[in-house]
Symmetry: C2
DNA sequence: TAGATTGTTAATCGATTAACAATC
DNA sequence: TAGATTGTTAATCGATTAACAATC
């Protein structure tokens, strides 16, 4: 086992890609895979894969490769996906609704365990079998349902407030989709997605290639 | 004007954040902003902002700051958001449906100009006022409606095929949400979003902090 | 002028790539 | 054993941070 060295964010972000491709490889009935072949399939260099994995331990066999099932089990545990995480979606607008219906979450260890909104027209409705609760019930529900992660899909101006309430109730992970700077205490993890960035950068590159 | 030096992807990805915050600052009636204050609001260092902007020109006044309106106009043009981009969404599932209803696209220069699906139950339906077309109409519609960007929200196994058809029809930008490696020709720009990565990394950090 | 703030160069930091010894 | 492939160290590359001259 490796001593605690800093693992880069870039490495952590690649682990899910490895895991997903390993699952597919396993479905194909392949039992051993080389970093070369795995890299080719994901679009990552073999050296990168070996280095990433080496930050957590020695999972391969020299001269042989990686045992698919064993590597999957290891990555799964490193990512903490072997246990179940209960997630709460705050804001059942278009995006929140789409995420509430996203089946793939289950297959990687996440359960949508609560939905919140502040719109009386939405409260009481069922989405994917889950009742939409009043945002005012956040505090009690976090405890009752052991919610671990809050997904923020409310309008930007309400995002920080929603985060604050989740955090006050004991949620330690925030997955934020509101395009605004969110502040959380040191012991809370925040991951923000900003969808308009990707689209804007496409605009940038398209503009440039059109000119040149 | 600057000579053509390589601009890093990280820089391009921050420009939309600058633009968005400048718009808010403008709405507050502020006419001049320093990199210090802008950085504080976005969560980026002032040096970073100055360096990013300097790769495109000299937009500020020494000892003064940046004129909000002027800087907005410049960033807008750099990003190519001053013109309109027509986007096509391929795959009207939960996510495609949510994106089709996403109003913010309009406000930054994008128009959802076509929706495609291969499900007969969806073809002919209207989403946000736009008719869902048969995927087989891609080729002709790209030309008719001058579609620039294709958004891929189909299941992974169909993603590459959808991309190939869009590209064959002349689309030069792909915004991919399918969690799979996509290949495009050299003259086509690809931006991929992989939502499960963010969630999995949250799981990783939550697991670790629980242990320590 | 003095104070403020930019634009830019130099220093640092971090991540990727290359090379190769270890070993299955 | 010979060939293959890992794990790891060293070299390179790229991005961020620090420092400061220029100048409004």
């Amino acid at each position: 086992m490796k001593s605690k060295v800093e693992v880069s964010k870039a490495t952590v972000d690649r682990l899910p890609l490895y895991f997903r491709m390993l699952r597919q490889i396993q479905n194909e009935g392949i039992e051993i895979i080389s970093s070369e072949e795995l890299g080719r399939r994901i679009g990552v260099t073999p050296e990168q894969i070996r280095k990433d994995l080496a930050s957590f331990g020695e999972f391969g066999k020299k001269g042989v490769g990686y045992y698919v099932q064993e590597l999957m089990r290891n990555i799964n545990e490193i990512l903490g996906l072997h246990r179940n995480w209960n997630i709460a979606i705050v804001g059942v607008g278009h995006l929140g609704w789409a995420l509430a219906n996203y089946r793939s979450f289950n297959s990687i260890g996440f359960t949508v365990a609560a939905l919140f909104d502040n719109d009386p027209a939405k409260i009481g409705q069922y989405v994917n079998g889950i009742e939409v609760l009043d945002i005012d019930c956040v505090e009690e529900t976090v405890k009752e349902r052991d919610l671990h992660i809050g997904v923020i899909t409310v309008p930007s101006r309400m995002a920080q407030l929603a985060v604050d309430r989740l955090v006050a109730a004991g949620v330690k992970g925030i997955w934020n989709f509101a395009p605004v700077l969110i502040k959380v205490p040191e012991d809370v993890w925040l991951v923000s997605e900003d969808l308009s960035v990707g689209l804007s950068s496409l605009s940038y590159y398209l503009s440039r290639s059109a000119k040149e």
